[in-house]
Amino acid sequence: MTDIKQYLLLRHRDIAGLDQLETYRQSGGFEAFQKAVTGMQPGQVTDVVKASGLRGRGGAGFPTGMKWSFIDNKNWPHYVVANADESEPGTFKDREIMTYNPFQFLEGLALCAYAVSAHEAYVYLRGEFWQVAAILDRCIAEMEAAGLLGDKLFGTDYSLRLHTHLGAGAYICGEETALLESMEGKLGQPRLRPPFPPSFGLYGKPTIVNNVETLTNLPLIIEKGAEWYRSYGTDRSPGVKIFSLSGCVNKPGNYELPLGTTFRELIYQHGGGLPEGRKIKSIMPAGASSSLIVATEEALDTAMDYESVPNVGAQLGSASVIVIDDSVNVAWLIHKTIEFFKHESCGKCTPCREGTYWMLHLTERIAGGHATSQDVELLHDVASQMKGKCFCALGEFSIEAVLSGIERFPQDFEHE
């Protein structure tokens, strides 16, 4: 039986040594998995997750249970891939989970695999996470030794194997179809959708791709039920979320809070507010892929959930909240984000490949101080030209900061 103190996901902050199998099992670990495999049908697991209202925590916020129900049951085998590519600037939550609470994540992955009747599941980690992969490999080996993975688990017919797979340093491989391409050994470029991974995924087989944090929620949901999970968060965005707070705050870090918590509470109560003498200027709630929210009182009082954040002109995304204060010039800021996107663009589609390159040169000149006002207009034009035309979300979201920056902070773009 899992005893919940403060944390649901970052439980290692409550319990020391949770990354040891013994400790994890003593605190109720793998009871949910055993209960599901021995006592529930795969479809029932999916129903519980659907009822809980859990939404994808990787940024898209798609209802998890609904995604599982799309899996093609006429095409076998099924696969599950945990997206541990975590490359969004400002996001560092999955890393903490996998380093310090790896078993809860792996149990969630196993539950997802059981729910879609997959016998092989993978963790796709970004290439830079080789140390994290080593930890997960150790954990998987321990689980196998303890009979929690392998053939005929818990005396049933169900078998499951987990594998880690390292990427090679590309942000685009966090996009689920590019991730699958990379796993297949091909160039990491996104695929045409439709068909979607639940119909045509890894090696053409139905595949569920879920974020690490999403999967880490599953053991508790299965153990304690959908109603219990709904007691956290809001009606349409239930549950808790790890907010990765960074930027111009005194206490950056991961904060696990219920969805619906306000920006003000996160930044000032938990994050310790801004440094002495600085005024908050803007908030980027989704890392570099965000629009820049103007940090008005109204904005600060906005609830951080998938429905409310769009009211202040942004998306919640992966909840990597970057705080911008008045010492930051927005022109410089978008130069930095564009530098990132230009470097990470896969090059498949024309608007993103050429557009990010062009925007980089424009922002370079603008941030460097030797641009004209026509250049700022041109930058806005270029970004608008890319909108709605890109092959995948990288291109589409790379322009958010640029467009919102120019429109909402025009004073930062004026030069002497």
Binding site: A170, I172, L187, G188, L192, K342, H343, E344, S345, C346, G347, K348, C349, T350, P351, R353, E354, G355, T356, Y357, W358, H361, L378, D381, Q385, M386, G388, K389, C390, F391
Partner: protein, 833 residues
Amino acid sequence: MSKLVTLTIDDKQVTVPEGTVIVDAAKKVGIDIPVFCYHPKMEPVGMCRMCLVDVGRPVIDRATGQPVLEPDGSPKVQFGPKLETACTTLVSEGMVVVGMSEKVKAGRKDVLEFLLTSHPLDCPVCDKGGECPLQNLTMGFGPGESRFLYDEKMHLAKHVPLGDLIFLDRERCIQCGRCVRFQSEVVDDPVIGFYNRGRKLEIRTYSDPGFDSYFSGNTSDICPVGALTTVDFRFGARPWEMRTTASICTHCAVGCNLAFNVRREAKAGGDIVIKRAMPRQNEQVNELWICDKGRFGYHFAESGGASPLERLAQPLVRRGGELQPASWDEALRLAAEGLHQAGRELLALVGGRLSNEDLFNIQALAQGLGGKIGLDTYMAGGDLVSQVGLGQGSNLGDLGQGSAILVVACDLEEEAPIWWLRLKRAVERGASLIVANPRPTKLERYAAHILRYGYGSEAATVAALLDAIDGKQNAANSGIKAAAEAITGLGNLVVVYGSEGLGLQGSQALAQACANLLIATGHFGQPNNGLLAVWPHANDQGAWEMGLRPLPDLPAALQAAKALYVAASDPLGDDPALAEALRALPFVVVQDLFLTETARLANVVLPALPFTERDGSFTSGERRVQRYYPAVLARPDARPDYAISGEICKRAGVEAEISSAAGVFARLAEKVPAYQGLNYRMLAQTAEQWPIVGRPDVYYGGTAYENTQGLGVQVKPGAQDGPPPARGALGAAPALPLQAGERLAVPVTRLYDHGSTIAHTGLLHARTPAPYVALHPGELPASDGAEVQLSLGGQVFTVTLRLDEALPAGVVLVPRSLGLPLRGPQAVELKVK
């Protein structure tokens, strides 16, 4: 019959089968949606974003399932929030597509602006200028001025050789991926690929030699910019400066349709020269593709300049032991006299490179004088192909589910690359392929069943297959049983046989076994059923149709003859051992393009015209008669083969038509049963083909040319209208006893060899192997690449040794046309040097 869907594109209604993409549907009603990465012969990817259009779909009420209607009764159409790519979006009933609104045009302008940001200002020096999709679309939809600073343009490598046939200019590349997808999807030769990412995404070659594919030239046709250009046509001429003529490739039996681009040049002293060979669309023969041998191998028809061998400039007559120039009159008179004198002891030897008209007139001469005529070839069985060849209306492009294809004794990619490509695509559409060969070949990648047999057992294997189909017990060969099961029950059967390890006897027996199989199973006389022979020359099938046959024993025939008339053949060059027999002949007339070895011994040498300087017709292996037209002016002192032999006929008292190729064809159409009712006008008829290429929208299908000069006519095999054929006896397998120290040598074909029509193309020399023999390792105490001595037919040759584990033990593979005179399986000696 698939379901049909009706939709509206730019206010035009179009009905197409389900599963069509919007771009193709638009094309069917004459609306051109601009594309870069889409190509009608490849899977769509939606990468370039040029084809973005506004797509609206009828709104269906979720509750009732009925379409929601507007007040005026028309269905309510909901347009998507974003533009969608027309190349990846499938049509649906009632869809409304808007391609010419301001929003869509602005979208096209934006994409073009993006593409032009780092595209170099190369149009003046780029070969694609004038047939460039990017140029055309920029004129149509693009921005007039650049907002990108010149100094910020990305500079990349230009003029990168991807192998020695294709150049890549990385700055011009717009990363559409057509070349990479063509190589991997269409021809399954993924030797080029993308490398790096983002703006630095570039094409690299992963093979050594670079871009090692027989189809590499096609990528320069489909590249929408001047990034991929051929070495052959670098800076040749501007597209608008060249004229186009239709021709047929002469290198193999496929009969790919070519378009020659010609121009009058000062470099060539005011002559009209061929600047390049391009594919001409014929969906029933070669679709939009030609192999590199056809694309680059036309230079033999030129003379001087790049060509090391000079073409014969005038007739030669032997006077006082030496060949000396003579007038046509004198040479023809002497030839006619000498041949007439020989009378019944005249032997005519012709090659399969000659057109139907040429063969007809030479045959008329030989028959008119009572002499013999033989086809100089190492492959037999054409009489059976005449009987049970592919039925009229056959198209390899139609084979798919429900079709079985058996390929025996053939390395198809080396012998006829475009057929290899067509059969591969047939398998991808669901056809069942059975490959029977003594060693693995590239075709086996697509085979459902592979039958391995020892060299010499070709006919026996096919006979065993027939036995298994007939239900007779088979000697414990599960492979044959499985193949037999695969064939039985399928609607179509095409049997393809080549010349792997075979000579005349072996190929005749194999052809008979294949014919028996087709006859017994009833797969003859209908479309997409029948026997296909992979002949080495363009018109071997035409020769067989006319009744020409190979000589079973060439040396004996030479000894028995008193006069020899050779056309498009070089028996001495092919086999030096024939020198004595040829020298012993009292009178020899040679008619050829070059002064061949045989011609050096001749009494009269007559200069002929190559196919680029005259017209004529060829009959392909699929029994399609196709016309070719002159591309350049004929050299003044050479004449077409049919005219030369026609003139000799006249002077020797034999009736012959010499006025024109059309005139000769009219005669031969009356005489040759298969061509009854055929004439040149019918051969020149065309029909609308799909996909539509060669029109102003170069971006859609690439720069292949539209076929406006003739699709040719596929003639009926004898069994289609005639009485059902009977099976034939196979004859005993030829015994080949080996003495001590001898080995069995078998001939195999390579695409690039030293044949007289390919050796003059310098471009392909780097890919042509030096003479070699291939062995299984361990047969000889020598390593790969060592020099060995091959004793063959009384001569000794020094060759390189190649070791190949995939080869069976106990045989030596000797490639044809590399200077090693092996006509069929033979005993040889092999020693380490």
